[in-house]
């Protein structure tokens, strides 16, 4: 296929974009009728069941990065690269018991920032907020960029128009419906994603002669099948700790822990992890054989769309278009909602206006959602870096937050000084490792450094934290 050709007619692309855009905004308006209170808007009334709960966790974790970056992992790092990406599901498995603990300790909690502030104090809270907001913006930017890139690759829609349209749709339905709309659309999107990915994987499998493709690939790209490929071995652990950091610290997951019913919250996250586990393999395996199939990858960011288009033709491209649009929507809306909660609750209310009414805070939230959308749009307008570099630059920061969160939930001796130092030193050493050795070491190094400092501070600590202090309502 010539790099200038697109798989779908641009008119078909625009029609799909408009149809799904109208559908999501319409559903947002429908579900938004329920979100009358602040609890409703931010946390869907704290009464989400296991079906919607697991669907929203799974759909949120199937980001555009899963669809777009997994084939890149396969193309660059082979079999180990694909396995490395599946380790991101471990984050959901391990967060399951933590979510139950969070619900128990903070029955009226709102954000992950609340936890850090009450558990460790304001200094740790400030550092944590900085990390969390930086990561959230990197995630948002990488997803909006992915949206623009994929629309351009599949349907020839100009990057700027496609990226703007996706952001606009997500901002609109998050704005009108709050977390009710986010979780409701996530449910539909998760069903579409699962069906679409299974269809794409089956169609790809039926078109690849695995025996021949393997033999050719081993000849031309031997490193992809090398069991001791250094970069892939390191990315296995790096990706796993990056995933832990993303899930454990980010308010996207904490807001779901607060929103899902206490009795089913652990099961919902475990089920989401189980549903998510095979997705990277299904999405990315064909990238291992792109060379032997004669598919020329002209731009690393377009690996997935180019392979799908070549293997599956227009029908496959339509399915992929819909799957990617759903995965983009399910993640961008969640991130917009959760980050606006963090800014409204932790920054505006806790730092500037503690006496603010719920109604006023809700309108502040809507302003923040629009603002976040606008800032993301401005950052994405010039296409900066590739998707992997944008995303993995945030790795050391989130990796350094793993241990303060985990020990903060379970160990009374975990303390503020240890939390602050582990986040700062973990991020700094992780960043050094990013530039000195490569992105595939950054989260791993940050997590290890953070662990050593956390454990050292606990060993020297005389802190004996009272868990009841986390229940702000009782206080």
């Amino acid at each position: 296929m010539n790099q200038e050709e697109t798989i779908l007619d641009p008119n078909v692309g625009w029609a799909l974009l408009l149809a799904f855009g109208i559908l999501w905004v319409g559903l947002g308006l429908y579900w938004g009728r329920k979100s009358k209170s602040l609890d409703g808007f931010m946390l869907a009334g704290r009464n989400v069941g296991i079906a919607f709960g697991s669907a929203t966790a799974m759909a949120t974790w199937v980001t555009s990065n899963t669809i777009m970056v997994v084939p890149q992992f396969g193309l660059k790092m082979g079999v180990w690269g694909l396995l490395a990406f599946t380790t991101a599901s471990f984050g959901l498995f391990l967060f399951a018991p933590m979510a139950a603990r969070i619900r128990n300790l903070m029955p009226r909690g709102f954000t992950s920032g609340d936890f850090i502030r009450l558990r460790y104090g304001k200094v740790a809270w400030s550092v944590f907020l900085g990390i969390s907001l930086f990561y959230s913006m990197a995630w948002l930017v990488s997803m909006a960029m992915a949206g623009g890139i994929v629309l351009e690759a599949l349907a020839g829609i100009n990057y700027k128009y496609g990226m703007s349209m996706i952001l606009l749709v997500c901002v609109l339905y998050t704005l009108v419906g709050g977390l009710y709309a986010v979780i409701g659309t996530d449910f539909i999107q998760s069903v579409v994603i699962l069906i679409g990915i299974i269809a794409v994987a089956i169609a790809a499998l039926s078109r690849i002669d695995l025996g021949n493709a393997y033999e050719t690939s081993v000849q031309t790209q031997p490193a992809l099948f090398d069991a001791l490929l250094p970069v892939a071995l390191l990315s296995l652990f790096n990706n796993m700790f990056f995933g832990f950091g993303e899930v454990f610290h980010n308010n996207v997951w904490w807001s779901r822990a607060f929103a899902i019913r206490k009795k089913v919250v652990a099961k919902a996250f475990s089920l989401a992890g189980l549903l998510w586990l095979p997705i990277p393999l299904a999405v990315g395996f064909s990238a291992l054989f792109s060379n032997s199939l004669g598919i020329n990858i002209t731009d690393i960011d377009m690996t997935g769309p180019l392979i799908a288009g070549e293997l599956l033709g227009s029908a496959g491209a339509v399915v992929l278009f819909v799957v990617i649009f759903c995965s983009l929507g399910s993640s961008i809306d969640s991130l917009l909602a959760a980050t606006s909660d963090l800014l409204a609750e932790d920054v505006y209310k806790k730092m500037f206006n503690p006496g603010v009414s719920d109604a006023r805070l809700r309108s502040i939230s809507t302003v923040i959602i629009v603002g976040l959308g606008l800032v993301t749009w401005l950052i994405c307008l010039p296409r900066i870096g590739n998707l992997m570099s944008v995303l993995f630059f945030a790795g050391p920061f989130v990796g350094s937050a793993v241990w303060p969160v985990v020990t903060g939930l379970y160990w009374k001796r975990s303390n503020e000084l240890g939390a602050v130092l582990s986040m700062l030193c973990g991020s700094a050493v992780g960043l050094y490792s990013y530039f000195e050795y490569g992105w595939y070491t950054a989260s791993l190094v940050a997590t290890i450094v953070s662990m050593l400092i956390t454990f050292g501070s606990i060993a020297l600590s005389k802190t004996h934290f009272q868990w009841s202090k986390l229940n702000e309502e009782k206080l």
């Binding site: 790099q3 193309l75 391990l94 128990n104 250094p230 652990f237 020329n296 690996t303 379970y410 290890i448």
Partner: protein, 164 residues
């Protein structure tokens, strides 16, 4: 005499036509190279090389065909085909550790390729040292086990209070 003159004239025309075609091909053969990576050598730590050899606008009409091949430094012969077609970029991956030379040539559709030039892109694949990889992996595995242990033991220790 006339016959000899006619033969000479025909031979002269043939030689002139050959020289004309050769001169036209010369800039293409000499000027062929990669726009990216810049320079004559490139070092990678993950076995990948993003090759770009022309602006996308340059070949919009699709009137040129490109051939990219790679050679190991110690190898001669035809080398290994990396790409042949109308695209003006190719992402190469899965290279084992070692040194390679990438070369490119092009032709108008229907014409023959010129000979390979001597110039090429020298690529060195140098993966991160295993002496760094193993300790990092060991520390990662240890951190993973301790993390699971912390959550599992913490869960057991707090189970009573959570069920109440």
């Amino acid at each position: 005499m006339n016959h000899a003159l006619i033969r000479m004239r025909t031979q002269f025309r043939t030689v002139a036509a050959f020289l004309f075609v050769a001169i036209l091909q010369l800039p293409i053969a000499l000027g062929e190279g990669f726009l990216e990576p810049e320079g004559s050598s490139y070092r990678t730590d993950d076995g990948t090389v993003p090759l770009v050899w022309g602006e996308t606008e340059r070949n919009l009409s699709g009137d040129r065909v490109y051939e990219v091949r790679r050679w190991g430094l110690d190898a001669s012969g035809l080398g290994q085909l990396v790409y042949e077609g109308e695209d003006t970029a190719s992402f190469v991956s899965g290279l084992g550790e070692g040194d390679y030379v990438f070369r490119i040539r092009s032709k108008a559709k229907g014409d023959a390729y010129p000979d390979w030039g001597d110039e090429g892109l020298n690529v060195t694949v140098d993966y991160i040292d295993m002496a760094i990889v193993w300790p990092l992996m060991g520390a990662g595995a240890l951190s993973f086990v301790v993390l699971i242990g912390t959550i599992a033991l913490g869960r057991r220790a707090t189970e009573g209070s959570e069920s109440s």
